[in-house]
């Protein structure tokens, strides 16, 4: 019986519990109307939910716990068998054999690469099915015990509703806590793997080294090619400079035109069209940048007389990324301009200023904090963007300000480092997490500042 089948069985039995509980409570309601016993506290379906929850919840919690502890139990059982005695004692080889044998026994893998794991497969199969049936039996036992207990509790004066509502409130709280859990999970996994990385490569080299050429075997103290400065520079150059040179004027001017000049009809049609730009998947932008924009930029560079223009140049990636960001800048500017009190604009117009003078000298200065907040959000979006740079910018680290050269970014290198063999013991793989940590901290900081600025500014005019 697979986990999915067991899950459906549990849910099905819960449904039966729901029906049974509801029917029993409904019977009370009927007899309460005729007899002298007074009214029933809760509606019948609350009793149904009470039974269903009492039956399902413990079973599900047990299934979840069992899912996480049973692999260890299975491994213990396999290791205690005599056939496992001649396994290599060295940790890594041992773990590799065990995980391969497990994968074959579970059917994820068909053939073994190591002879030792072949022998362990039947052992694993036995242990897996042994513990699986224990798990199934215990789950069903818990389910029936919980259901029966709840069923006996159903009485006319039983406060089923408040019990069920308490569970609902608990469920709501748990759902909100998942957000915190995710943040913590991101933080913990990045910190943990980065810490392992920095125990091999010095943080000083990572943060201040100017040469990125990662070696898979590191020697402590020496230069191992893990200097991330070229990556940071490339990320800033493409995401925060080139992309913003495209996105800020276009986005800001679009917002000004659509809110201040365009007629209602034009606005109604143009706004969704701009939104489409934000809805196009980044992989499509990346393909477009690599296939169409990059060759055009290179031809342009050759025309200008730049001889060493690369086909995977930074400019193409930056331009396309800027276009992707336009709607974000535009809608944030739109919001902040709309938040400026009308009195300020009317005052300026009444003094005889033209529309553009009003916009340039009154509206924009007043809306500046909001616009800056929007630009910060846009920068954070751009430096975390992956597919455009993976497809259009290059893989070679290059500390240059030449937009026609190949420049790599943090996200490109994360993808490059995690391609192929992933080995959580090698600095190659772990470096990706260190880069991820740097990216996460930077975007977190940018978002925090941006939201702060926008919020402060909104309050100023409220």
């Amino acid at each position: 019986m697979t986990g999915t089948a067991l899950l459906f069985l549990v849910l099905g039995l819960g449904l039966i519990g729901w029906i049974a509980g509801r029917a029993r409570a409904a019977a009370f309601v009927r007899s309460a109307k005729n007899g002298p016993r007074g009214t029933v506290n809760s509606l019948p379906y609350y009793h149904g939910w009470f039974v269903a929850i009492c039956a399902i919840a413990p079973a599900l919690v047990f299934m979840f716990i069992w899912q996480s502890i049973s692999p260890a139990l299975v491994t213990n059982m396999v290791l205690s068998a005599p056939a496992a005695a001649d396994l290599p004692q060295e940790g890594f080889a041992r773990a590799a054999i065990l995980s391969e044998a497990r994968a074959i026994a579970q059917g994820f893998q068909t053939a073994a690469f190591q002879d030792e794991s072949e022998k362990l497969v039947p052992l694993y199969k036995g242990a897996l099915s042994y513990y699986k049936w224990i798990g199934v039996a215990a789950t069903l036992l818990l389910l029936f015990a919980g259901g029966a207990y709840a069923f006996t509790r159903i009485k006319p004066d039983f406060r089923a509703r408040s019990k069920v509502e308490r569970v609902v409130m608990f469920g709501l709280l748990v759902a909100s806590l998942i957000a915190i859990l995710t943040t913590l999970g991101i933080f913990a996994s990045l910190i943990f793997e980065s810490w392992r990385f920095f125990s091999m490569v010095s943080p000083f080299e990572f943060l201040f080294g100017a040469e990125w050429n990662p070696k898979s075997v590191v020697t402590p103290g020496a230069d191992n090619g893990y200097g991330a400065i070229p990556l940071f520079w490339g990320t800033i150059f493409i995401g925060a400079i080139i992309a913003m040179i495209v996105a800020i004027p276009l986005g800001l001017m679009s917002a000004i035109f659509l809110t201040q000049y365009a007629s209602a009809t034009v606005r109604k049609w143009m706004k969704p069209i701009l939104e489409i730009l934000a809805g196009v998947p980044t992989v499509v932008y990346g393909y477009f940048a690599a296939l169409t924009v990059a060759p055009a930029v290179r031809d342009f560079a050759v025309m200008l007389g730049v001889s060493n223009a690369a086909s995977d140049n930074a400019l193409a990636a930056g331009i396309v990324m800027g276009v992707m960001i336009i709607p974000l800048v535009s809608s944030m500017s739109d919001d902040s301009i709309a938040a400026v009190p009308n009195a300020m604009r009317d005052g300026s117009l009444a003094m005889g200023a033209t529309k553009s003078e009003t916009i340039k000298q009154v509206l924009l200065p007043a809306a500046l904090p909001g616009v800056v907040g929007g630009v910060l959000l846009a920068v954070s979006r751009a430096i975390g963007e992956t597919m455009i740079v993976v497809m259009a910018a290059g893989y070679t680290a290059n500390l240059t300000a030449n937009p026609f050269a190949t420049i790599t970014t943090v996200t490109v290198q994360i993808v490059a480092l995690l391609t192929g063999d992933q080995d959580f013991g090698s600095p190659h793989t772990l470096a990706a997490f260190a880069l991820g940590l740097a990216l996460f901290v930077t975007t977190f900081f940018l978002n925090y500042v941006a939201l702060r600025v926008v919020k402060k500014y909104r309050e100023a005019y409220e």
């Binding site: 509502e165 409130m169 196009v280 393909y287 997490f433």
Partner: protein, 421 residues
């Protein structure tokens, strides 16, 4: 006070200097307006250019070039009867027929020395399917149209290699080539030969991933939105939840991929590049979007509804689940669809959890190794073979149609069900 205010001579608005100044100011006004117009036009033109480029290249991806091959089945199969390859044993009978050999023989008899490499690798499979569908073919002489090799396909549609061009010219003279609709592209899976690839496997993988994402992100997102808007008291924990959600909504997607790799694959040991792990990772990414949209929708339900329900004796939970949630649902659904559209186009997190392998078959279950539509686009875009360019663009067209459809549905829902209180 100052001299200027006391100055008795009024400004001469009709004077030359002032008129010039006004003309200059009006010119600046016009320039500014034109700049704004250009900004909007430029953005729109870029979008149009992108879409037309994709359409121009991609439409060819839905077509394939076919070549006429004469099959003298009675001679080639030494007299197999229609009855032998129909009925319940058809599969085994067809397997024992050596169809690739038959196809090779037929094409070398007809085209002689140029027959080498004319057909795509999947051609034998096509013949097999035709015989399966219509066993009667096997007793007669037939002319079948089979898809050609990708080099010839490229050469027939536009410019290809010189050798392929010559072959195509020779074949076209014999009237042996035609253009047909590429059904394989809609029903097939990834392959090494671009004329035999299809997107069904990737599409199915995307659907399964989205199913997991929706099943997890929607309930959690809605419940969290209800809790934060309706019940949460202002305290440290609530603040932390809010900061987390706002931050998660802006975390780069690749970070979620790293989380999926470190937690779901390494700690929990879930199967690599499966729809299950992909769905879980994307659910974490989509959930904050749904929470934020859900909170706005819940917030827009007027308090009078809640007070009326409380007034006739509903409990706080009943108020929310019987009254507030149904009224907020259209807004929540709009946000959910937009979040799901974003997840459908997402590539980077899926690459992190290993969805970049060559997988030549559609996934059967949620734990099978699979690929997704955007990942497939990325993988094809990396291929050197010229034939993949049009396939990549064609896959992009399919993806864009789905995304635009989802966004249009969201807009429709918003317009149709949104209530102005």
């Amino acid at each position: 006070m100052s001299e200027a205010i006391m100055d008795p001579t009024p400004t001469d608005w009709n004077g030359k200097i002032m008129q010039k100044r006004i003309a200059r100011r009006y010119a600046a006004e016009r320039r500014f307006k034109v700049m704004g117009f250009l900004a909007v036009t430029l953005s729109t033109l870029f979008l149009a250019f992108l879409l037309f480029t994709m359409l121009g290249q991609g439409l060819r991806g839905f077509q394939r070039t076919e070549i006429a091959v004469d099959f003298d089945f009675p001679a080639l199969t030494s007299g197999t009867t229609a009855a032998a390859i129909s009925g319940p044993n058809a599969d085994a009978a067809l397997n024992s027929m050596d169809i690739p050999g038959i196809v090779e023989l037929a094409i070398s008899q007809q085209y002689g020395e140029i027959s080498e490499g004319l057909l795509t690798s999947g051609a034998a499979g096509n013949v097999r399917q035709m015989l399966m569908d219509n066993p009667g073919l096997v007793t007669s002489q037939q002319q079948l149209w089979l898809p050609v090799d990708s080099r010839l396909d490229v050469a027939f549609k536009r410019d290809g290699e010189r050798a392929a061009e010559q072959t195509v010219a020779a074949l076209a003279q014999k009237d042996a080539l035609r253009t047909g609709f590429n059904w394989t592209f809609l029903t097939g899976a990834d392959a090494t030969d671009p004329s035999a690839v299809g997107i069904w496997a990737a599409f199915k993988g995307s659907l399964m991933t989205m199913a997991i994402t929706l099943m997890l992100a929607f309930p959690v997102g809605v419940l969290a939105a209800l809790y934060l808007e309706e019940y949460a008291t202002k305290n440290k924990l609530t603040d932390m939840i809010e900061v987390s959600i706002n931050n998660l909504a802006a975390v780069p997607s690749i970070i979620f991929g790293l989380l999926g790799l470190a937690v779901f694959l390494t700690v929990f040991g879930m199967p690599r590049s499966s729809a299950l792990v992909g769905g879980l990772t994307l659910a974490l990414m989509t959930m904050p979007v749904i929470v934020i949209a859900g909170r706005n929708a819940v917030k827009s339900v007027p308090p009078s509804i809640r007070e009326a329900a409380l007034g006739i004796g509903a409990s706080p939970v009943q108020v929310v689940f019987h009254h507030v949630l149904p009224l907020a649902l259209p807004g929540i659904l709009t946000g959910t669809i937009i979040g799901m559209a974003r997840a459908l186009g997402e590539t980077a997190p899926l690459l992190m959890i290993g969805m970049r392998a060559f997988i030549p078959a559609a996934p059967e279950g949620f734990t099978d190794a699979t690929t997704a539509l955007p990942v497939q686009i990325y993988l094809w875009s990396d291929e050197v073979n010229q034939g993949f360019i049009e396939k990549t663009s064609a896959a992009i067209i399919v993806l864009l149609i789905f995304l635009l459809g989802m966004n249009a549905l969201a807009i429709y829902l918003r317009n149709r069900f949104e209530t102005r209180w």
